[in-house]
């Protein structure tokens, strides 16, 4: 953290996006997290992704719960809508907001405590409902705000900073998300923005529940030998199954890759995902095989990263509920309260 506000000056050659904004226009207030926190890198990746997607900041709603991770929405997209909710209850608030105004882009930011412990139930239901959102868990395996107790995602056998060994089974949020029906599931690492930024961009373009588990080392309490969420451990055990390029529709695709090494997926908004396979055995469209692959690698202590599962023809909660295209908060009183005659019609249809 720092006491000095980040100077307003920026590089004279800083590029602008289609809206005329520089990346700096997507920043928020200066972070008060510990110096070197992985969460700050994730914030930087989110800033980069929204800048590159040419998204107007006021079209985004960022929601969070409680914890170090949930403080971060203050530090990015300073001109977006924000809601810092109750511990573990971000998914409910986000669901409500998404119901009321389907036109915004919803970004849920949570941590391993917020999502895997107190908010585990909420986490489950927001995914199975298919709320159209990007759900990012900034996963460091410890409770940083309370000085480093193991969280529910800490691996069995890993050691705390004081040397205590964790004897509980970890909750693997990626496997859980797959089981619960998330239609876009990925894992990234805060220390690898070249992988993380395209994952966030693709998740934004995806329609339905997109979940990204980002391993984010806690420099203060979980970056020591014996930890499985430290910079060194994740770098040594990172098994990236693929690399992603995300190309919005309007840009011509110029890069060529060797035959069989890539796979293109067209998303709902016409954007194109190009997957560069790093592991020839990994197929992100096959959920069953993906789950066994992940389980097998986890058992070996490896951290599988990349786009792990994608259902391109996914739908979201609004489709399931058959709501109108106009956001509910934009409907007029006469549409919302059509009167006795309409009620009589409904009642009659049910007799």
């Amino acid at each position: 953290m720092t006491y000095l506000a980040k100077p307003k000056l920026h590089h004279p050659g800083l590029p602008k996006n289609a809206l005329g904004y520089t990346r700096r226009d997507y920043e928020g207030a200066i972070s008060t997290l510990c110096a070197g926190c992985g969460h700050d890198s994730i914030s930087a990746a989110i800033i980069q992704a929204f800048f590159e997607l040419d998204i107007a900041p006021h079209r985004v709603a960022k929601l969070s719960g409680i914890g170090c991770s949930s403080k971060t929405p203050t530090y990015f997209l300073g001109n977006s809508h924000g809601f810092n909710s109750v511990h573990g209850r971000m998914p409910s608030v986000l669901t409500g907001a998404a119901l009321a105004n389907r036109d915004l882009i919803y970004l849920g930011v949570s941590g391993d405590g917020d999502s895997a412990s107190i908010g585990l139930g909420q986490f489950a239901h927001v995914l199975r409902r298919g709320v159209n959102m990007v759900y990012i868990v900034e996963n460091n395996g410890v409770y940083g705000l309370t000085k480093g107790q193991f969280s529910a995602t800490a691996d069995r056998g890993s050691r705390s900073k004081r040397g205590a060994v964790n004897n509980d089974e970890p909750i693997d949020l990626v496997l859980l998300a797959l089981a619960l029906g998330a239609t876009f599931v990925a894992r990234g690492f805060s220390g690898d923005k070249t992988q993380l930024v395209p994952l966030i961009k693709a998740a934004v373009a995806h329609r339905g529940a997109a979940f990204i588990d980002v391993i984010s080392p806690c420099v203060a309490f979980n970056n020591h030998p014996g930890s499985t969420k430290s910079y060194d451990y994740v770098r040594e055990h990172n098994d990236a199954v693929n690399r992603l390029d995300f190309m919005p529709e309007r840009e011509p695709i110029g890069v060529e890759y060797p035959e069989g090494g890539t796979r293109d997926v067209v998303l709902h908004d016409g954007g194109l995902l190009r997957l560069r396979k790093l592991d020839p055995d990994y197929d992100p469209s096959d959920k069953v095989r993906a789950m066994s692959f992940l389980e097998a690698h986890r058992a070996r202590g490896e951290v599988v990263t990349g786009l792990l599962y994608l259902r391109p023809d996914s739908d979201d909660m609004h489709a399931a509920l058959q709501t109108v295209d106009t956001p509910l908060n934009a409907l007029s009183d006469s549409d919302l309260v059509p009167g006795n005659a309409a009620l009589a019609g409904v009642n009659a249809s049910l007799r």
Partner: protein, 626 residues
């Protein structure tokens, strides 16, 4: 790229753009911090050590530091400046220097001659300008007996004779020349040296162990066109005329004056004319406005006083009537590139234009002249009539004779003369001690952590977005009435503080310790100017294409680390770094540290008494990353 060797003094010195650009390598950010702290005397001493004439230079310097100033580059990326469509501008370094001189307490006790017993060696210095005075100041404390000869009655050289008093009052010259002469230096005014042979033979003031020639470039170039002889009474050579004005011999000029030339002398001529009765004063220049040699601010000052500048006009002839000048005729020209791409001025074919006037001042350049140096002494001259002088040692081909200032390499400026004087003094000292001239002392270098606490630095690292402050001027009506009334009023302490805060403290260096880096990207994410990149190594041209932000200024170095854990290297583009220290504040392991780099160029006088540098802070413990 190979890892950057930061132990090489030049590396960090080059990052301090202003100090690097200054011929005398004045530690600019150091004295600016002292000014901000209200320690004007200390700021003055820092200057005095390096450039000898802070008050004079604070008014008249050519300021090579300012175009180099990083502030000018970083403001180009300021949203604030874009909004106001204002020009990015450097810190007003020169005028801050004047503040140190104006506001200082009595520094005389600190400048007292450090009494060393006379060492029996005698040095003659020809000309009492900035070069010779600098050399004498450096040599006198070592025990040398220095005797300065000058044709003028008072010391100061061109600073006194050619710079108008409304830019540089006599009291400032008297004070600072006095500080030098008070070091136990003998000045012989009104004593023109007219033979080097006799000087060397001991016929002028006795035998000398070395001679320093700082006689300047005293001859103004003439313009030999029709009418020059006939109208001679009203055609004056610029620098001679200025000198005559300066010493009070000339007190008036005609109502209509044409000044020929586009350099700083021309600007001084036209502004002086306005004060001596010239009501209709015009400057006429061969070249275009932007190509004029005069400093932009001097052109501004002239125009501010209602003096028009006419460009692309080549003088054809002086018109006259019965021996009296009536005007000057000019041919209109236009710039055009020739077949080889060189710019040339070609006539437009339009009829000549006539500027009627009563007096003409010719300020089209200066030349060196050495009629007093016999050509059979073994002192070599080149084809242009210039002495052959070594650019490092300032030595001529005659072992005991050294040159400096305009006499060495042709007309330059005061700060270059000072730099020459320092180097010549080192050479003279080496020679008198029988050492090789190549055995030059290294600079004094100090690199010290500025860390005081987790978020505390011993320098003010907040970045201010103020735009450059203007120096207040005396009302033109009043200023034009008195040629001795100084036009620029100088910053008051309050404005000086605000201007000083614009300085980025480029001497507080970002120092990277690769062993401590855990590659968390915190520095990359926080850097407001996107200076830092972690990437795989490559050659410089390749690396410059792969950095976080465009890297188009190849004149600025890349700071490259040895490979860190993942095999990548840290690359920092020094170009637009704000030196705000956010990288170091955000670094969880202290791999980045802010360390003040203080480089003090060696001076001859340091040999007996090493410099005691004033520092802009006290008591900072060294918390270097080691």
């Amino acid at each position: 790229m190979d890892p950057t060797d930061i132990a090489r003094p030049d590396y960090f010195h080059k990052v301090v753009d202003c100090q690097w650009a200054c011929p005398a390598h004045t530690p600019v950010p150091e004295y600016i911090r002292l000014i901000a702290a209200g320690r004007y005397g200390d700021a003055y001493i820092v200057n005095w050590r390096s450039n000898v004439f802070p008050g004079i230079l604070g008014r008249t310097c050519d300021r090579p530091c300012e175009p180099a100033c990083r502030r000018g580059r970083v403001e180009a990326g300021s949203p604030e400046h874009r909004k106001n469509a204002s020009k990015p501008e450097p810190v007003a370094i020169c005028r801050l220097k004047r503040v140190a001189a104006d506001c200082k307490e009595d520094v005389r006790p600190r400048l007292l001659p450090r009494a060393a017993p006379r060492n029996g060696k005698r040095i003659a210095l020809v000309g009492a300008g900035p070069a010779a005075l600098t050399a004498a100041r450096d040599l006198a404390p070592l025990g040398y007996e220095c005797i300065v000869f000058d044709a003028d009655p008072k010391a100061g050289g061109m600073m006194r004779s050619q710079i108008p008093k409304f830019r540089l009052p006599d009291r400032v010259i008297d004070e600072e020349v006095g500080y030098v002469l008070d070091q136990g230096i003998e000045f012989r005014g009104g004593a023109r040296v007219d033979s080097l042979a006799r000087l060397l033979a001991g016929d002028v003031g006795g035998r000398f162990d070395a001679v320093f020639v700082g006689s300047g470039a005293p001859r103004g170039r003439d313009l030999d066109i029709p009418g020059r002889r006939e109208a001679a009474a009203n055609i004056h050579i610029g620098i001679d005329w200025l000198s005559s004005v300066s010493f009070g011999h000339t007190t008036q000029i005609g109502r209509r004056v044409v000044v020929l030339g586009g350099g700083n002398t021309a600007m001084d001529c036209c502004r002086s004319s306005r004060r001596l009765g010239g009501e209709d004063v015009q400057v006429v220049v061969r070249s275009g406005f932007d190509e004029m040699k005069a400093s932009p601010w001097e052109k501004e000052d002239a125009m501010h006083e209602g003096i028009p500048i006419h460009n692309y006009l080549v003088p054809l002839e002086f018109t006259h009537d019965r021996g009296k000048l009536t005007g000057v005729t000019f041919e209109k020209v236009t710039p055009r590139s020739d077949a080889r791409g060189r710019r040339q001025l070609v006539p437009t074919g339009e009829p000549p234009v006539h500027f009627p006037c009563d007096d003409v001042l010719v300020a089209i350049g200066q030349e060196n002249t050495f009629p007093w140096i016999e050509r059979d002494l073994g002192l070599a001259f080149d084809d242009h009539g210039m002495p052959v002088v070594d650019r490092t040692t300032m030595a001529s081909t005659l072992p005991a004779v050294f040159f400096g200032g305009d006499a060495a390499f042709g007309p330059k400026n005061i700060i270059w003369a000072v730099a020459h004087g320092h180097e010549a003094a080192i050479s003279i000292d080496l020679r008198c001690r029988g050492e090789s001239l190549s055995n030059r002392p290294p600079p004094h270098v100090n690199l010290l952590s500025q860390k005081m606490g987790i978020h505390e630095w011993s320098y003010d690292n907040a970045i201010h977005t103020d735009r450059r402050y203007r120096v207040p001027l005396k009302d033109t009506v009043i200023a034009l009435k008195d040629i001795r009334a100084e036009v620029e009023l100088g910053f008051d302490p309050r404005v000086a503080y605000a201007e000083a805060q614009r300085c980025l403290n480029c001497d507080v260096q970002t120092v990277f310790a690769d062993r401590l880096c855990i590659e968390c990207d915190a520095c990359v994410d926080i850097c407001p100017m996107d200076c830092i990149t972690f990437t795989v190594n490559g050659n410089e041209a390749d690396l410059r294409t792969r950095l976080s932000a465009p890297s188009s200024n190849a004149a600025q170095d890349l700071y490259v680390s040895v490979p860190v854990k993942t095999g990548r290297v840290m690359v920092k583009d020094e170009d637009v770094c704000l030196h705000c220290g956010l990288c170091a504040e955000r670094c969880p392991t202290g791999a980045w540290d802010m360390q003040k780099f203080l480089l003090d160029v060696a001076h001859a006088s340091d040999r007996l008494q090493p410099p005691q540098m004033a520092t802009s802070h006290t008591g900072a413990a060294s918390l270097a990353a080691d």
